[in-house]
Symmetry: C2
């Protein structure tokens, strides 16, 4: 009875050990499978506040109009000059191909408010990029989870691995290039 | 006693009449002195949602980066395609001189994400313009009160009288040029 109990306990311990190992392995497996970048577009980003606007001329000479938006945590940090950004901060970057506004130019051609003016507006969307601050989850990439969505679909891993490397020169601003526009 | 009472009532009526006339005159005076444009910057406009961005090349070739923001009423109307905009809608247009971002260009010069790229960001502020919808108060200018502030100061009456005339060609969009950027 005593031996059986001991065997029983040993067996139980063995099972517990295997279960434990499996659990740890599984946990590590999960960690390894967690992408280092965003796979889903953060909800409500189109309602975020304005950080700034910008323009990018691509290598082929085409021009993009861009807007950088931030959730309340990000906007507050910007206004208070708080660095690094606190966990929960989200920055969204909306990129559009710049097109000429024929409608606006017709009005501008009339000479007011000034002759020779030209108006450019957002055309088709290029992509939407995100930075989500989670200092633990994204510790390997400066505490930021990067996202890049084209037509709603996330960039592949090869593309996403380039994000952080490109942001390293902005380390003094917590890896964020965009400055708040007054 | 009866006569005195009658005189008293007549006097009271006369006083009431004079007070009434004065009140009407004063009311008319107030109406006449109400400017047809904004004299104060609408509070909280920097927290408004993003409608769109744009760029304007001035007659002298200089470039402005621009952002159009809207309060909740304006954003809701845009998203629902509701025209005319309801009373209470406010649209803000922030205009900055476009400057080259040397910091960003240093990174772009390294060849990623693409060689030959150039980055432009907001420099000094040019002005902030507003359109505030109040179909009664601003009936004479399409229901919109226009505002134009440079360094926090409103434009003079001569400048402000040009706003509505310039917006008339956009009558089909309730005098608003900016379209919502997806």
């Amino acid at each position: 009875m005593k031996r059986n109990a001991a065997v029983g306990l040993s067996a139980l311990a063995a099972i517990a050990f295997i279960v434990g190992i499996t659990a740890i392995a599984s946990e590590h497996g999960d960690e390894a499978s967690v992408p280092i970048f965003l796979t889903e577009i953060p909800q409500g980003y189109r309602d975020f506040g304005l950080i700034a606007v910008s323009r990018l001329i691509a290598g082929n000479g085409s021009s993009q109009l861009r807007a950088q938006l931030g959730n309340d945590i990000a906007i507050k940090a910007y206004r208070e000059g708080k660095l690094p950004f606190p966990d929960g901060a989200i920055i969204a970057a909306l990129h559009w191909n710049e097109i000429t506004s024929e409608e606006n130019n017709k009005v501008l051609a009339k000479g007011f408010p000034g002759a020779g003016m030209q108006s450019f507006v957002p055309g088709s969307g290029v992509n939407i990029q995100f930075m989500v601050k989670d200092s633990k989850k994204y510790a390997a990439t400066g505490g930021w989870g990067f996202g890049d969505f084209t037509n709603g679909k996330p960039g592949n891993e090869k593309l996403m691995q380039t994000c952080f490397a490109c942001h390293v020169p902005a380390k003094d601003h917590d890896f964020v290039f965009t400055q708040y526009a007054p």
